[in-house]
């Protein structure tokens, strides 16, 4: 296999809170290869966004910080890189788009202005070149009459169109990696499908890798080649999509999969859910963080933390679901 584009090792992210320091991400490791799409899934609060932000050095500090680990990208360690260095990477080599298209753009500048700013900064284009380029990008992400739209303000566009503008802006400098943080969660179902399709199509055109953060396993199944399942700040399982869906090894993944509603003949009375609650980051158990909710937990799970293997398909579990 080719060299990984991004190599994250033992990443730990901490936040100082009123009640003490919490480790929102604890010992996360993964690789991203060029041109692949990797899903990052998990329940709300498990650290997906924070992981994505850390790749660009965007953890708000204070109160947050990267407490340990390395993020290798293009021969640099982004975990320790200077703000200057990170700034040249943000929006040019690694781009990120966010969950809330309604508020992610600056309301008092035109979309053309905001896009041209990125192009001028990273590609050194003049104002008129940047504007031409912005119009072209808007066309490529499927905004109708882009030459007119370019002078409009974000509030004049629909949510789906704003997310397309964000995508256009994110891709305008040909990034090698796009981090898409729940890019479709705030959109209606039809628009969701269109935007995802657009991302997939552009990914091939631009030949970039995508980390797709989502809690929607259906989206992962449709768009990703691999997925990382996060639970409570740790990676519970990683596997290629077919394997993950056909034979989930981690009991948490198995639980997640069985709780997806789907259209099937045998309609169950109740949708199975994973019983229990996600532990509080301030009061983590000594052993596996999923142990308290796990049907397969052993004694060992209460005291020891399982490690994720180095293999492409591995689960951090002492008693994985048998194949």
């Amino acid at each position: 296999m080719a060299e990984p584009l991004l190599r994250v090792r033992d990443l730990a992210i901490e936040f100082d809170t009123q009640y003490g320091t919490v480790r929102a991400v604890d010992g996360v490791s993964f690789d991203i290869y060029p041109e692949e799409t990797v899903g990052l899934v998990g329940e709300s609060g498990c650290g997906k966004t924070v992981t994505g932000l850390s790749l660009l050095g965007l953890i708000p500090k204070p109160p947050g910080r990267i407490a340990a680990g390395s993020i290798e990208f293009g021969g640099r360690d982004l975990a320790t890189a200077s703000e200057e260095e990170l700034r040249t990477i943000r929006g040019s080599e690694i781009s990120m788009i966010f969950q809330e298209p309604m508020t992610a753009l600056n309301p008092v500048f035109t979309i053309g202005n905001q896009m041209a700013d990125v192009l001028a900064r990273h590609k050194g284009l003049t104002d008129s070149q940047a504007r031409t380029e912005a119009i072209e990008m808007l066309g490529r992400v499927g905004i109708p009459s882009p030459a007119r739209r370019v002078d409009e303000y974000p509030h004049q566009l629909s949510g789906g169109q704003r997310q397309r503008v964000m995508i256009a802006m994110a891709l305008s400098c040909n990034p090698k990696l796009l981090i898409a943080d729940e890019p479709t969660t705030a959109l209606d179902v039809t628009t969701q499908a269109q935007v995802l399709e657009q991302i997939n199509k552009l990914q091939e055109e631009f030949r970039m890798a995508v980390i797709l953060i989502t809690h929607d396993l259906g989206v992962v199944a449709e768009t990703c080649q691999r997925a990382l399942v996060m639970y409570c700040g740790k990676v519970a399982e990683q596997a290629p999509i077919e394997e993950l869906f056909a034979q989930p090894r981690h009991p948490y993944t198995a639980g997640l999969l069985s709780s997806i509603p789907r259209i099937r003949e045998d309609r169950p009375e109740h949708l199975p859910i994973i019983a229990g609650r996600v532990p509080d980051l301030l009061h983590l158990p000594a052993g596996c963080r999923f142990a308290a909710r796990c049907e397969r937990a052993l004694d060992r799970c209460q005291t020891e933390q399982p490690e994720l293997g180095e293999k492409t398909a591995s689960a951090a579990c002492f008693n994985p679901v048998p194949v």
């Binding site: 508020t103 992610a104 753009l105 008092v108 500048f109 900064r121 964000m166």
Partner: protein, 317 residues
């Protein structure tokens, strides 16, 4: 055209405000106000003399007529003569308002510019020592009385106990040098007192804005901090900033600063208003109240137009 019809509508809706403000002040100042007949008639007056004075002061008219007279004065912008000096009030205003503006303007502008600047700086270094120093100084500045600040500045800068650089009292605009020498100490005192409040206000507005999603987006696209704060964030903060600045204008222009003008012996409108309150000079007070109300309405209109200009989401409907 849209702007013109909007302005007309907005000014029309200002009329009830002007009537409300003037009516309340009229009731307080005139209806419940002092009767000055016996101050003016002298000793042992005859009934005719008393009646004559009362007629001159308009006391023989019913209250409704007197209020309508007041409204007529407002519409024609002719407020009659001062009761104490007999000077025409329009002439009095034309003489003193420019002085008050000239005294207050440098401090007003400087206080707001520095307030925004320090607010930006404090917000940028939020939670770190520059922020703590700025906010600490702001708290100290806010807790010292205006009077003490004025006297301290006078002693330090204008007296022989201190640097003795400026005249203690007085006013002259004969030359620019004169203006600077008389306006400097009042300006410094005003800035000293206003800066704490301004900085606190602007810092909180800016900090609030830094938590918005679009700021995270800007960071994610490599916007340098200077551009982020001084352009992207600041432009989003303009609405509260404009509101605060615009709505203090009527008070800067019309009321002046009473303390500044009396402690520095400056013949501005603040001093005139103060004297009018002491002597119960109703025509002057009525003029000041009416002008303040009119200015408020005009400022409101201008503020709305400025909103439209800085924020594309605002529409003038």
């Amino acid at each position: 055209m849209e702007l013109f019809s909007y302005s007309l509508r907005k000014l029309a809706t200002g009329i009830p405000l002007i009537i409300g403000v003037t009516l309340v002040s009229f009731l307080l100042m005139v209806y419940f106000g002092p009767d000055k007949t016996f101050e003016l008639v002298g000793k042992n007056p005859t009934q005719e003399q008393i009646d004559e004075i009362r007629a001159q002061l308009g006391y023989d008219q019913p209250m409704v007529v007197r209020y309508l007279d007041y409204l007529r004065e407002i519409v024609t912008l002719d407020f009659g003569n001062s009761e104490s000096t007999g000077e025409r009030i329009n002439a009095l205003l034309a003489r003193t308002i420019p002085v008050s503006i000239a005294v207050a303007l440098p401090g007003f502008i400087l206080g707001n510019l520095l307030g925004v600047g320090l607010g930006l700086l404090a917000a940028f270094y939020r939670g770190r020592w520059p922020d703590k120093m700025i906010m600490g100084s702001a708290a100290i500045g806010m807790s010292i009385s205006f009077l003490i600040v004025i006297i301290a500045f006078q002693i330090i800068l204008s007296s022989s106990y201190g640097l003795n650089l400026f005249p203690v009292r007085g006013w002259s605009v004969d030359s620019f040098g004169d203006y600077v020498s008389y306006v400097t100490v009042p300006t410094l005192a005003t800035v000293f007192v206003a800066l704490g409040y301004n900085t606190r206000f602007y810092r909180s507005v800016i900090v609030e804005e830094t938590t918005r999603d679009h700021v995270r987006t800007a960071r994610a696209f490599g916007v340098p901090s200077l551009q982020l704060y001084c352009k992207l964030i600041l432009k989003n903060c303009l609405i509260p900033i404009i509101t605060r600045i615009m709505f203090s204008i009527p008070f800067v222009v019309i009321s002046g600063s009473l303390l500044i003008e009396s402690y520095f012996g400056i013949p501005g409108i603040g001093k005139v208003t103060y004297d009018a309150i002491i002597t119960g000079d109703q025509p002057i007070l009525k003029a000041v109240v009416a002008l303040t109300a009119i200015m408020l309405v005009v400022v409101q209109l201008l503020t709305d137009i400025m909103y439209r200009w800085v924020d594309p989401r605002v529409s003038l409907k």
